[in-house]
Amino acid sequence: MTLADEANLFDVAKGGDGAKSAPSASPAGTEIGAANPWEKLRTVGTPDQWRDAGPKDNVAGVQPTIVFEPTNEVELAMVLRYADSAGLSVIPRGSGSKLGWGNPPIRADLVLSTVRLNRVIEHAWADLTVSVEAGCTIATLQDTLAQHGQRVAIDPLWPEHTTIGGLLSTNDSGTLRIRYGGLRDLIIGVTIALSDGTLASSGGKVVKNVAGYDLPKLVTGALGTLGVVTRAVFRLHPLPHNVRSFTFVTRDAADANRFVLAVQDSKLAHTGLQVRFNSGAQPEVDIRFDGTDAGLAAQTETLQKLATPAGESQSNEDVWHARQHLFGTAPFPPSLRYGVTSARPTASTPGDTTTPAQDSKSTAIAKFSVLPASIASTCEQLRGSTEPLNVHWSAVVQGTGLGWIRLGPANANDIRQLLQTLRSKLEPAGGSLVVQYRSSEIPEVEAWGNPGDALPLMLSVKQQFDARKTLNPGRFVGGI
C-alpha cells in the first residue's frame, strides 16, 4: 500500500468499502501535529478499540501510554503509520506471554494489540495449508486443524495463550523441531505492516515457491522490529495416529549425550528426543515415535537394540512439557516479569547506585544453542560453574542442540554472573545464549549476546524497514 492509496485506506478503516471517494475530512497526506499526536491516532477505529495503558501493559518495566486493538490489518497499518510519523514508539503484542523476551524497550508509547485479529482465514486441508491472522492462538488454530486430522507441526510454550504473531516474532520451538524443523521451515507466506503503513505480502499459499525474497523467514524471530505480522500461511502435517514415548535414565551427561547421538545416528524415525538435566540427579533421555502399529513395534525393538542406558520405561506424554515446566506452569503475568510499574531498569544510567536485592529467590531462564555433540560438555560446564556457588539448575536440551536452562532460586548477582560465564564459553565455540526470563532483582543482562559480523547488515535491514526505529526500539540484538 502506498501513500496514494491512503485516502481509500482511511475509508476502509472507517468501515467504508474503499471504492467510494474518501470523506472530505480525510487526513490523507497531512502530517500529524506535534501538539497532541494521540488525537489524530484516535480517529482510527472506534473508541472501544482504544484504552489507556495500565500497569498490566508495562513492557519489561517500561510503561506505555495507550493500547489500541485494531479489528483489521488496514487499521493496524494506519495507526502504525500515524504513530511513526508522530515519532511515537510502538510495541506489537499478541497475548503478551513472551513480552518480557528481549531487552527492555528504549521507549514504549503505543501497544498495538492483535487480540481482535484472531481468525483462521482459510484451512485448505486438501492442500495441507492454513492461512491465519496474527492474533489467533496456537491452541485455537490447532483445534481447527485437528478437525481434518492435521496440525502445524510445532509445540511452542503456552499454546492456549501464544498467538501466531507472538510465536513468529519470538521464533519459539519445542520438541517437534527435530523431525519437522522450526517455524522457518513451516511458514510459507506472511503479510506484514511496515512502520510507514505499507502492507506487504511475501511467499504465498503453496509449499513450494521461490518467487522473490523469503520475507517469511526474515520476520521469523525478528521480535517485531521490522514490521508487524498481520497474517501468516503455514504448511501442515497430518496428526500422528499412534504415539509412543520412552524415558531412559542415564549415568551422567556424557552417557546421555552418547545415547542422543546414537539415536540420531540410527535408522529410527523419532519425532522427539530430549535430555532433562536436574542438578544432583541423573540425566534422563526421552524419545518419541509415531506411526502405524507395525512401525511402532519395529522401532521399539530397534531402540532396545541400541546400547541403551540402564533404566528404561515407557513414559507418559507429559515429559514433553518439560520445557514449559522450566518456565513455570503458566506464562508469567506481565507485572511479575520485570517488577511492577518501576521504570526501565537503570543499569545504563550513569551514576546509578541502586544495588539489587541480595536475596536468594532469584531465577533466570535462558535458551542456548550448541552442536548436538556438545550437549554433555555444555552441561558439564554448567555443573562446574554452578556447584561452587551452590546454585540449583535444571535444563531441557533437544537433540537438535537447542536447550533451555533454569538457574536458581539463588542470589541475583550469582545468576547474572553464571549467565555471562556460560555465554562467554558458548559463543567462541559457535553457540549462543539468549536470556528469556530473569526475575526483577537480577541486574540487567543483555538478552541476545553477540550477533557477530552480520550486525552491520542487520542494522541496514532495520534502517530500510523501520528507519525511525518506531517498532520495539532497543529490544533486539545490537541495540536494534
Binding site: 502506498t2 495441507l128 505499507t198 503453496v206 525474497y213 526474515l218 545416528d265 550477533p451
Partner: protein
C-alpha cells in the same frame, strides 16, 4: 572494459583465473536457459574467499555489475551475464572443508557439486537431501542462489531447509557470516533471506549444510493410470490418508514416451504415471505401501510395480530425472516451464492446459512434483514452423497466469531470474515488491550484484521508502522512473 581495471583484476586471479577472449567468453554467455545470451566483458575464476572479496571490491569501486555463476545449469537465466559486467565463477572453489558426522553438518565451498556432498558421506549412511534433477553437475553455490528443490523436497524440504549458515561476500566486498553451525543464531535470519535470492545479495563463499541420515528402507511404487486425472485422485487419496511420502511424481503420456525413447526406463505406456516413494523404518514403509497400493487400485491403477532394490529404484528414477532432456527426442524445440498450484487445482489446470494446447496447435508434455503441486509443463514446438515459437511462448506464459489465478506461484524451484521477472508484477502487488527491494537495498545499495534479475525494474536505493522523493539521479536527469 577499461584496461586499468582489467589489470587490477588480473593481479588478483592471475592469467589463469581471467578470461577475456571472445571465443572463451562465449561459454559463459548463457546458462541452462539458452534463449537469452549476453557476452560478459570478463570472466573471473577465483580460488579463495579473499580473491572473491578483492574482485568484488574492484567492481564496487568502479561500479561494474557482476554475476556469480556456479555450474551454469540454472533454468531461469539467473547466471545470464549483465551487459558491460563480469561473471564470477565459483567453479574453482570446490573443496569440502569440514565433515562433522556426530552433529550432521558439512562445510563446503560453493563450487562443490551437489552429488559430491552425498558421495562424501554415503558410506557413513548420510545423504544431502535436496536433489535437483541436475544434481550430478549443479553446484551448491547455485543451489543456494536458486533455493534448489528436487523430487524429495515434499518430505525433506528445500535447499533453505538444509543450509544453516553462510560465509558471504557482500556487494561492497566486505565479509559477513550469516547463521552458523548451531541453530537459531541471535539476530535476523539472513541465511533464510540469502538462500533463493538468486545472486542479488552477494556471493556465498562457504556453505554450512545439514546432512540427513539415510532411512532404513526406501520403496518406490510405480502405478499406471488411464489419465493424469485418475493419477491426481490417487495423490489426493494418499495425502488425505495422512501420509507424507518422500516423493510423489507424475508424468503424462507424452512425457512417458519421451523418457522411454531416451533412457528406456521400461515405463508402462499409459495416460498418467505415478511414482510414489516412501522411506523410513522398514515395517512402517511396508505397512504404508499396502495403503498406497490400495488407494492407487481404487483410483483405477491398471498396473502397479514396486521397486525395492537400489538398481530397480535407480531405473525408475532415471526416466523421471531425464524427462526434460528426453523431450528433445520427440520435439526439436521446447520450453521447460515451472509453476506451482495448490495441489487440488491440478485436475482443473490439466484440462485447461490441454484445451489451450489444442487451441494453439501445440503439444504440452507434463512432468510434475505432484505432491506439492509443482508443475513442469514442457511446451513443445518447432522453430522452423513460422509462428510456432511465439505461440509456444504465449502458451507457456498463459500457463503461469493460470497458476497465479489458482493461488499458486510462477516458480517452484527454477527461480525468477531473467526469464520471469516481468511475471513478478502479476504475482505480487507493488508494495510487496517494493518491500522485497528494501532487502536488496540493505545488502546492495549500489545494485551491482546480478542487478537486472528477479524484479521487473530496479528500485533506486536513495529513495525514501513510502513517500515519493525524486532520486538525485532523477533530478540530475541521469535516470528516470517509468
Amino acid at each position: 572494459m577499461d584496461p586499468r581495471i582489467l589489470q587490477e583484476l588480473r593481479a588478483i586471479t592471475g592469467d589463469r583465473g581471467l578470461i577475456t577472449s571472445p571465443e572463451q567468453l562465449k561459454t559463459y554467455e548463457c546458462d541452462g536457459l539458452t534463449n537469452f545470451r549476453v557476452l560478459p566483458d570478463a570472466v573471473l575464476l577465483p580460488s579463495s574467499t579473499e580473491e572473491v572479496q578483492a574482485i568484488v571490491r574492484v567492481c564496487h569501486n568502479a561500479g561494474i555489475p557482476f554475476v556469480a555463476r556456479g555450474s551454469g545449469t540454472g533454468l531461469s537465466g539467473g547466471a545470464l551475464p549483465v551487459k558491460e559486467g563480469v561473471v564470477i565463477s565459483t567453479a574453482r572453489m570446490n573443496r569440502i572443508l569440514e565433515v562433522d558426522l556426530p552433529s550432521a553438518r558439512m562445510i563446503v565451498e560453493p563450487g562443490v557439486i551437489n552429488l559430491e556432498v552425498t558421495e562424501r558421506v554415503a558410506a557413513n549412511g548420510f545423504f544431502y537431501a535436496p536433489d535437483p534433477s541436475s544434481q550430478s553437475v549443479c553446484s551448491i553455490g547455485g543451489n543456494v542462489a536458486e533455493n534448489a528443490g528436487g523430487a524429495h523436497c515434499l518430505k525433506y524440504g528445500f535447499t533453505t531447509t538444509h543450509v544453516l549458515g553462510l560465509e558471504v561476500v557482500l556487494p561492497d566486498g566486505s565479509l559477513a557470516h550469516l547463521g552458523g553451525k548451531t541453530l537459531d543464531a541471535p539476530g535476523y535470519d539472513l541465511t533464510g533471506v540469502f538462500v533463493g535470492s538468486e545472486g542479488t545479495l552477494g556471493i556465498a563463499t562457504k556453505v554450512i549444510l545439514r546432512i540427513v541420515k539415510r532411512p532404513e528402507c526406501i520403496h518406490t511404487l510405480l502405478a499406471a493410470f488411464g489419465s493424469t486425472i485418475e493419477a491426481g485422485a490417487a495423490v489426493s487419496g494418499i495425502i488425505g490418508a495422512g501420509m507424507l511420502p518422500a516423493a510423489i511424481e507424475m508424468m503424462d503420456n507424452l512425457a512417458i514416451q519421451a523418457a522411454e525413447a531416451a533412457v528406456h526406463a521400461n515405463y508402462p505406456n499409459c495416460g498418467g504415471l505415478l511414482l510414489v516413494e516412501l522411506d523410513g523404518p522398514t515395517a512402517e514403509v511396508e505397512a504404508l505401501m499396502q495403503q498406497v497400493d490400495a488407494i492407487c487400485r481404487k483410483c483405477g491403477a491398471k498396473e502397479i510395480r514396486v521397486a525395492q532394490t537400489d538398481a530397480e529404484r535407480a531405473l525408475v528414477w532415471k526416466g523421471r530425472k531425464a524427462a526434460f532432456a528426453a523431450v528433445g527426442r520427440i520435439s526439436p524445440n521446447y520450453i521447460v516451464q515451472d509453476g506451482v498450484i495448490p495441489r487440488t487445482a491440478l485436475p482443473r489446470l490439466m484440462s485447461e492446459i490441454e484445451r489451450l494446447g489444442a487451441e494453439a496447435g501445440i503439444r504440452v508434455a507434463n512432468v510434475f512434483h505432484a505432491g506439492d503441486g509443482n508443475l513442469h509443463p514442457l511446451v513443445l514446438y518447432d522453430r522452423r514452423i513460422e509462428g510456432q515459437e511465439h505461440a509456444a511462448e504465449v502458451l507457456a506464459n498463459r500457463i503461469l497466469e493460470l497458476c497465479i489465478e489458482a493461488g499458486g506461484s510462477i516458480t517452484g524451484e527454477h527461480g525468477v531470474g531473467e526469464e520471469k521477472k516481468m511475471m513478478m508484477s502479476k504475482m505480487f502487488a507493488e508494495p510487496d515488491l517494493e518491500t522485497m527491494q528494501r532487502v536488496r537495498c540493505a545488502f546492495d545499495p549500489k545494485q551491482l550484484a546480478n542487478p537486472t534479475k528477479v524484479f521487473p525494474r530496479p528500485r533506486l536505493c536513495g529513495e525514501q521508502p513510502g513517500e515519493y522523493h525524486p532520486h538525485p539521479l532523477e533530478l540530475a536527469g541521469v535516470a528516470e522512473r517509468f
